[in-house]
C-alpha cells in the first residue's frame, strides 16, 4: 500500500489547475441547466456558464448559503433526477427543517475516495480494522468513514456511537487498529478503557481519526496519552460531502483538502472578498466533482486559512488550518450542530417567553448542554410533578429539534441577562 491513496494527491499544481478548471466549467454548466435556483442566481448576476473558462473565474460566481438549502427543502437543489440518486443524508436545521443532501453512485465514490485518502494519510492500510464510532444514520460521520474504509480495502467495524463499555470490549477483542469518532468521545473511551482495568498501551489501537467537532493541539496531546495512539484531524461537512473533505497527513500541521473535488477559498466574511494564503477568513467550498448536489461557493461559516506551501509529506494538495471559530453562532455539541435559534424556536413553539441561556460544558470529556429557562406564572404550579412534566415536555421538544439532548434548568423570572441588540445567550465553558 502506498503512502497516498490517489495519484491526484501528489499531482503537479498545473495538472490540478487544469483538472479543476475543466471540472468547474462542467459543474457550472450542469448547475445552470439542471437547477432552477442556480439558473436564476446566475441570470441575476449577469453571468453565463460560458463566462466561466477556468478555475480562476470562480470569483465571478455568486455564493450559496445554508438558507438556500432550507429554502429548497428537501430536494430542490438536486441536479439529477431521482433515478440517479442512491442516498440522502441530513443534518438538523435551525427551525426544525433539516438540511438534506443527496448523492449519486459517483458522488458516493468521490466521497469514499476522500475518506480513503484521509485513512491512508493517517497511516491506515488495507490490513487494518477500522473501528467507526461515529453515529450511523442521517449523520454523515458513520457511513462516510465506513465507505472509505471499505474503499481502502480495510475492514470496517460499524460500531456506531454509544454503549462505551461495549466499544472497549470490541476494541480489545476485535483488535481495532484505527478509531474514528469525535475527539471528546475518544477521550471518554480512553477513560472507560482504564475504568475497565485495561491499559490502552496493550491494545492494538495505533491511530485515531477525529472530527465533527473542533479540537486543539492540547487535546491532541491528551488524546494521544489517553489512548496510546497518534491522533489525526479530519474535516468535512455534509453540504459538501461529509467527513474527508480535508484531512491531516503525517506532518499534522494542516489538513490537505481534496481540492480536485472540493475547491476551497478563503473570503472576508463581511466583504466576501477573497483573502490571500495564510489569512484567516470564512472557508468557502465549490463542489467540482459532484453530480447530485454541486454547490457553488458554499459558505461554511468556519473561520480558517489555507496554504499552498509545499508539504513535507509530498502531497501537493492545498492545506487548510484547523477551523478556529465560526462566523455564525453555531455550536457543536457531541458532534451535532446546534444553533441557538433552534433552542429559541422550541421555546417560542411551547408558548414561553424567549428569555433563555445556553450553558455548554465538557464533563468527563462529553459535551453537555443546559438550557436555562425562566419560570413563568403559566408554568408554575404548587406541584413538583406538574413542573417536572413541563420540563420533560421542553426536553423532548429540544431533543426532537436539536437532535441532541439538553438539560433544562428552570430559574427565577427576570434573572437571565436581557440584551439590547445582539444577544449573547451562549456560555461555552469548554476548554478545547
Amino acid at each position: 500500500m502506498s503512502k497516498y491513496y490517489s495519484a491526484t494527491e501528489v499531482a503537479t499544481r498545473e495538472y490540478l489547475h487544469d483538472l479543476q478548471s475543466e471540472r468547474l466549467v462542467k459543474t457550472v454548466r450542469s448547475c445552470y441547466e439542471h437547477i432552477p435556483f442556480y439558473k436564476k442566481k446566475l441570470d441575476e448576476a449577469g453571468i453565463k456558464p460560458e463566462d466561466i473558462k477556468s478555475i480562476d473565474d470562480i470569483t465571478k460566481l455568486p455564493f450559496t448559503i445554508k438558507q438556500d438549502l432550507r429554502d429548497n427543502y428537501p430536494f430542490g437543489l438536486f441536479a439529477v433526477p431521482k433515478e440517479k440518486l442512491v442516498r440522502v443524508h441530513a443534518s438538523s436545521g435551525t427551525t426544525g427543517k433539516q438540511t438534506v443532501v443527496g448523492y449519486t453512485k459517483n458522488d458516493i465514490d468521490v466521497w469514499s475516495e476522500s475518506t480513503a485518502r484521509a485513512l491512508t494519510a493517517a497511516g491506515a492500510t488495507r490490513s487494518d480494522y477500522i473501528h467507526i464510532s461515529y453515529g450511523y444514520g442521517l449523520f454523515t460521520g458513520g457511513l462516510g468513514l465506513h465507505y472509505g474504509a471499505e474503499k481502502l480495502g480495510a475492514t470496517a467495524i460499524p460500531v456506531s456511537s454509544g454503549n462505551t463499555q461495549r466499544q472497549v470490549q470490541i476494541l480489545k477483542d476485535f483488535g481495532s487498529n484505527v478509531l474514528c469518532c469525535t475527539p471528546s468521545y475518544a477521550l471518554h473511551i480512553g477513560e472507560t478503557i482504564r475504568q475497565m482495568g485495561m491499559d490502552p498501551k496493550e491494545l492494538p489501537l495505533r491511530i485515531g481519526i477525529f472530527g465533527a467537532e473542533p479540537w486543539s493541539e492540547k487535546m491532541r496531546e491528551e488524546l494521544e496519552n489517553s489512548l496510546a495512539i497518534k491522533a489525526y484531524d479530519i474535516y468535512g461537512l455534509s453540504e459538501i460531502a461529509g467527513p474527508g473533505v480535508a484531512y491531516e497527513c503525517c506532518e499534522r500541521n494542516g489538513m490537505h483538502v481534496s481540492e480536485d473535488y472540493f475547491y476551497p477559498e478563503i473570503v472576508d466574511p463581511d466583504t466576501l472578498e477573497p483573502l490571500p494564503d495564510g489569512e484567516y477568513g470564512e472557508l468557502v467550498f465549490t463542489c467540482i466533482g459532484k453530480e447530485a448536489l454541486p454547490l457553488i461557493r458554499y459558505r461554511t461559516r468556519d473561520i480558517a486559512s489555507i496554504s499552498h506551501e509545499k508539504c513535507a509529506c509530498g502531497r501537493t494538495l492545498v492545506k487548510m488550518s484547523k477551523p478556529k471559530g465560526r462566523s455564525d453562532d453555531m455550536l457543536i455539541i457531541r458532534g451535532v450542530n446546534v444553533f441557538p435559534s433552534q433552542v429559541e424556536h422550541v421555546i417560542l413553539t411551547l408558548g414561553m417567553e424567549p428569555n433563555y441561556q445556553i450553558i455548554v460544558d465538557r464533563i468527563n470529556n462529553l459535551d453537555t448542554m443546559t438550557v436555562k429557562i425562566e419560570m413563568s406564572d403559566t408554568m408554575f404550579s404548587d406541584s413538583v410533578k406538574k413542573i417536572e412534566d413541563s420540563e420533560k415536555k421542553i426536553k423532548a421538544a429540544m431533543q426532537t429539534i436539536l437532535g441532541v439532548s439538553a438539560n433544562i434548568s428552570l430559574v427565577e423570572p427576570k434573572t437571565l441577562p436581557r440584551f439590547e441588540g445582539k444577544a449573547q445567550r451562549v456560555i461555552d465553558n469548554r476548554k478545547i
Binding site: 413563568s376 404548587d382 406541584s383 413538583v384 413542573i387 428552570l410 427565577e412
Partner: protein, 145 residues
C-alpha cells in the same frame, strides 16, 4: 372550607429563601405552617399565612413567581394511627393526597395537617361524619393567638 396556601418558586441558590421570607417579614405576614418540596435545581415553598392575599401581592410585586392554591386543613386527634385513619378514609373514596404537611397547634390533643388533593369538595365530603374535622383559615390563626 378551604385554606389558601401560598406556593412560591425558589431557585436553589444561597440567600434566596432569606430574601423571600424577608419580604413576608417586612410586610408583617405571619407564617403558621410551611413545607418545602425540593428538586436539584429549585424548590417549591408552600406557606400557610395569616393574610394570603397581601402576601401574594407583595411577593408578585417583588417579581417572585408565586400562586395561591386551595388546600384543606384537617384537625385530627394527636394520637397514634389518627393520620393513617384520615388518609385511609380518603383513599377508600379514591382520593389521592398529592402532598401533606403537619404543624403543631396550641389546641390540646389535636394535630393539624394540610393536605393537597385534586378535588377539595370530594375530599371534604369523604371526611364528613368522621372524627376528622376541617379547619378554616381564621380558625388556624385564632387558635394560635
Amino acid at each position: 372550607m378551604y385554606i389558601k396556601q401560598i406556593s412560591i418558586f425558589v431557585e436553589n441558590k444561597p440567600g434566596r429563601l432569606a430574601d423571600i421570607t424577608g419580604i413576608l417579614a417586612d410586610n408583617k405576614i405571619d407564617i403558621r405552617a410551611l413545607s418545602i418540596a425540593d428538586t436539584t435545581d429549585y424548590g417549591i415553598l408552600r406557606l400557610i399565612v395569616n393574610d394570603p392575599d397581601t402576601a401574594l401581592e407583595k411577593l408578585k410585586a417583588a417579581g417572585i413567581t408565586s400562586s395561591i392554591t386551595n388546600v384543606l386543613a384537617i384537625g385530627i386527634p394527636d394520637e397514634a394511627g389518627a393520620f393513617s385513619d384520615a388518609i385511609r378514609t380518603l383513599s377508600a373514596k379514591g382520593i389521592n393526597v398529592e402532598y401533606a404537611y403537619a404543624f403543631i397547634t396550641p389546641e390540646a390533643g389535636a394535630a393539624y395537617v394540610i393536605i393537597r388533593v385534586e378535588d377539595n369538595d370530594a375530599a371534604a365530603e369523604a371526611l364528613k361524619g368522621t372524627s376528622i374535622k376541617l379547619i378554616g383559615q381564621q380558625e388556624i390563626f385564632n387558635q394560635s393567638k
